[in-house]
């Protein structure tokens, strides 16, 4: 690393990384802190993790969160896959219109989307709850999944499919033997990312959960408005480990796939 040449920028970068990591490190450390008031370090304990895992409200929220994540992923993927398969061969103008729709989805402030969905359910006299949350999550997650799959598809050279067709494969065989394997890593990454986004969501859930549904982020959202406790640190540490490891898996899968296929398929999608 070229530290001396970039003295100033190196220093700023160091502070920026410290700024990004120190608060997370503090939460993780305090999750083990025996000092209940968190006024200092009194040695390590697993008590807060035991309490967090033993808490019925937390366990129930975790269960509901996982159900929502799985339903959302199951709903999102087919929608996104079929959309990008169309997109790939569509006319330029149609593609551009579709892209605008997708980008609007991604860029719209979530609080506006969530209030709009809330209004839709209210005006249709449909009660909010689990189904509403799953639908809500699946709308913007479909857009994110489409972006990921588009990136993967643009890395997939059409020449491969043309070559397969020239070699005598019919349309279905080309799709089954060339397009699907090419798209698969993208699907896997999209699934992991959609799952994490849904797992992590606060705003859409907050508007659409109603009184029956409680997700883990909503429980945390409710708790941290009032106080800081060692138990929240423990839940926070667990959630952090969970989301970080899911994304790490996505990252490793992606770099592996790219490495294996290097030469056979162009790499892309970072």
């Amino acid at each position: 690393m070229n530290l001396r040449r970039h003295g100033f920028v190196a220093l700023v970068s160091l502070f920026a990384l410290l700024f990004l990591w120190a608060p997370l490190a503090m939460v993780s450390a305090n999750a083990f802190n025996r000092n209940e008031l968190l006024t200092g370090w009194d040695g390590a304990t697993l008590q807060w993790f035991r309490e967090a895992i033993g808490d019925a409200q937390i366990r129930d929220a975790l269960r509901q969160t996982l159900i929502i994540c799985m339903l959302c992923t199951a709903l999102t993927l087919p929608l996104a896959i079929s959309a990008v398969l169309w997109w790939r061969g569509a006319a330029r103008r149609a593609r551009r219109w579709f892209d605008v729709l997708v980008y609007l989805n991604v860029i719209l402030p979530e609080v506006v989307f969530a209030s709009a969905m809330f209004l839709l359910f209210v005006r249709l006299h449909v009660s909010t709850g689990l189904v509403a949350v799953v639908i809500g999550h699946s709308v913007w997650n479909t857009a994110f999944a489409i972006l990921i799959l588009q990136a993967r598809l643009s890395a997939l050279d059409p020449a491969l499919e043309e070559a397969a067709a020239d070699l005598g494969a019919n349309t279905w065989q080309v799709f089954r033997r060339v397009t699907v394997p090419g798209l698969l890593p993208g699907v896997l990454v999209a699934a992991l990312i959609v799952f994490t986004f849904s797992f992590d969501d606060v705003v859409t859930s907050f508007f659409l959960a109603g009184s029956q549904v409680n997700t883990l982020p909503l429980v945390l959202f409710g708790l941290i408005r009032f106080h800081v406790t060692p138990e929240i640190n423990a839940i926070g540490a667990l959630v952090m480990i969970f989301t970080a490891s899911v994304t790490l898996v996505a990252y490793v899968v992606l770099s592996r796939v790219n490495k294996i296929r290097r030469g056979a398929l162009p790499t892309g999608l970072a």
């Binding site: 970039h6 920026a16 990004l20 503090m26 929608l79 979530e110 709009a116 606060v202 989301t243």
Partner: protein, 278 residues
Amino acid sequence: MRPRTLLLVPSLLWFTAFFVAPLVLVLIHSFGRMDLVTFEMRFDWNLQNYRNILDPIYFRTLLRSLALSTSTTILCALVGLPVAYFISRQNDRWQRGLLVLVIVPFWTSFVVRIYAMVNALENGGPIDTLARDLHLVSGRINVLYTPKAIAIGMLYSYLPLMVLPIYVALERIHPSVLDAASDLGANGWQLFRRVILPLAVPGLAAGAVIVGISATGEYVIPEILGGGKTLMLGNVIADQFLNVGDYPFGSAIAVSLLLVLTLLLLVGRGTQRMEAIT
């Protein structure tokens, strides 16, 4: 209809029913009126809801939202540019490692990150203690539950979104370009002003759009770090829909927020064009 077009149908129906339709519904409701006692909707098709936004209480919130998102975007750019530049000048291995270090905090749970900020900014927390030990403040820092805490929290949450696009723009600069500038006698400042900054502009613009839009519509951060007062537009919208139940007024604020964002985007694009011409 060609069979391929059938593939578009599911997602198009999906987005129409649950993205376009709700937003159209919001637009329609913004011209309506709701009796808050009987909860009856009437549509007078006038601009009364929009006129109510000009009421100082709400207008000040609008201005505060804009001030906070602008300062967050500037802060992100000021910190993000050196960080992105530093990363872009390392070898491949270090680049990848440093990028992971920037991205991983962004991938950890949003609520947990904001909670971590509460911990850090609290009176009696590490920053407060440090500031008092160094005699920077007398008494407490009193940052948590103020607009300052919101700006810090947004900088903390959105910094990676600024670093990544700038990095993408700067990573393409070949080292020889910088060497050439130095050899021709450019000093550090000239190198930055004449070579690095112009090349960073596309990344800065992309980052500013992403950070600016996210920050202007932020809801969770002001709710927690701002102490739950109606400090930003996002909070006012949520309050109108979920607590007050005045859907028409909430809708009008939501539409106004979108109008403001569109305006900012257009101004941003306009200035970029102007720069391209001059």
